[in-house]
Amino acid sequence: MEQSLLSFISTLRQHDVRISTSETLDALNAAAVVGYADQSLLRQSLAATLTKTHADKERFERCFELFFNARGESAQSTSPQDKSAPSPAAGEFSLPDAVASDPDVAAAMDAPLVRAATEGRPSTLAVAIQEAADEMQLEGIRFNTQKGIYRRRLAEAAGIGQLDKAIEALKAIESDSLEGPIEWLEQRRHELDMAARDAVEHQLLLNANAAGRSIQQQALRNTRLSALEHYHLKQLPPLIRALAKKLATRHRQRRRIDRRGKLDMAKTLRRNIAYGGVPFHTYWKQKRRDQPKLYVLCDVSGSVSTYARFLLLFLYSMSEVMPRIRSFVFTSQVFEVSELFDRNPAEQAVEIVNQRWARGSSDYGSSFKQFADEHRGRIDRNTTVIILGDGRANSADPGLEDLRDIYHRAKLLLWFNPEPRSHWNTGDSEIRRYQSACHYVAECNSLAKLERLLDRLLTILR
């Protein structure tokens, strides 16, 4: 039973329920305490130990239903009380003594599975399937195309070969009186085969959705943003939001104790007992938020239009979860969109930005000049500036001087380039020159890369 509990847990994991080893141990202990007989008690115990959010709980209920009910049915039909229940084509199995004493037949009949079947324990077949499934790790099945091979392997592992041998041995004797027993054995063989098929299909049903989805998401994350088809667009926002939220939680702002605010009497006295209560060292109660400032400039001109949408979506999600971001878009002029993002839902905000500003070709020179003039005073050692753009200045002034000015003032100036590295410095790309005025220029054209970059960035910012 522990084995099925473990494979149940791995099924849950495939359905995006995060379960750690210690939770697995808890679940095993809980199951040991409440026992396996009362299903609702077991379900509630497992739910309490394995799931830690409300959403997980719903997934849990679904999986539990699928997983244990199918097993439960087969387990029930194997319980000894059901032996009397009439199973189709059951009936007694008997061989004439003369045949039974034939050495070949006797050997074949002595195989454990055949013996179990002939001695009137049909339930053994189902048990054999279940055991074989656990042993061969049937839960590894992922795709419809694997069905055939898993079914065959499962049937073999359960011992279908033993039945085949018995049938062959009987057929070799060629006697009319054996037709009945042969047919009986073939019936059992068929039942075993069907049971294997059911088990495989059931497991596939349990796995398919989860596996399909996680593979698709994996693929989405690694696909070049520009190459994504239109029908994928719908799936991206939740993915991006999850990513931004993950980053924000991991890099939550710290507070630090500062030498301001109210005197912490208790602490001051306590720490100064050694000096007879004379306050040599003072301690303060006030906590100050230690907040990094983040400015993000996103190019929305024609040349990056395919990426801009995703960059904007990401920018939007970031500003949702990190309060101190100021977001800007630019083509030939810089526009702040922080407020727009605050007021509008994601899709709509991106749409508005695209309609209002995403026109014409980029002019980095005038954009950087404007940005530097307007925000120079606010950029300090606590500020990080990120520029999202391809660095194609259309042979105009790249605005390097202004960028360098920002570079000197800011803690970090980063450039995320959506173009593949092989395209850099070709044509009108000025990215090499920009490299001299940036702390770091990175290639960033898939969500996976974006996540890695930002994760590292946020670690540095702390």
Binding site: R18, S20, S22, E23, D26, N29, A30, V33, V34, G35, Y36, A37, D38, S40, L41, Q44, S45, A47, A48, T49, T51, K52, T53, H54, K57, T249, R252, R255, A266, K267, L269, R270, I273, G276, G277, K287
Partner: protein, 309 residues
Amino acid sequence: MQQSTASSAVNEFIDGFARAGYIASEAIATTVFLAQQLQRPILVEGPPGVGKTELAKATAEHCALPLVRLQCYEGLDESKALYDWKYSKQLLYSQVLKEQLHDILQGVQGLSESVERLKSFGDIFYSDEFLEPRPLLKALREPQGAVLLIDEIDKSDYEFESLLLEILSDFQVSIPEIGTVAAVTKPTVILTSNNTRDLSDALKRRCLHLYIDFPDRALETRIVQSRVPEIPAALSKQLVGFIQQVRELDLKKAPAVSETLDWARALLLLHAGSLSRELVESTLNVILKFEEDIQLVRPEIRELLKGLD
């Protein structure tokens, strides 16, 4: 056999909670039972007012253990949650003892000898005598064990969560000056959260998780009848039905169980026999706490009452 003892233990919890005035679902009782068996804390989540805090009180009453409560808020730190030194007492003693110092050191020659002499008195200032236990330490020191309620953990800072980890997994705290204090009897720990922020995975991993949602109609009727037994059965059925429907509307704050009970008591005071439109309209502010919500529900009252029949 093992299973029958488990389910009977769960039923015992349900009965015990009922005696304490808390109508628990099977899921709730199972989780509390497991928590005591596995010695794990319970993290209770759910909308406000579904009886998360009440669960801790009922558990304490049923198990006849003292309830130690720690209310979390932003800025809560170890000196308020765990322990503190009685610094003024320490200070006072150090002044008083200064005069004793002369007697103690009588006949001692040289500095090293006096240090030696003082050493033999041990570390008196950082001992139990001067330790002020706060709720967490208090719960660990209860000889019979206790029910420790850590209320609204989501209101506390991120750092405080980390502080709790040692207590939640090993039922012990480390005090630098003294050492590790382990629980005399492991307490039953119940944490509640309104989900205003995500708790860390490390914390969640250590806890059993229990989600308490608004009760269904039958359960809520039982709760009303147990807490406000004077109310006529017909009226309680009506008012629970009404509340259940109101919860379906898009409200800023859906009425919680505690508001249902308040309303039941209010209607009882008004000697109401059944719900009428005027009565509901005049007492709507008992169950709804936002003006917008009241505006939204008021025109619907007639429809909602019709839905009761």
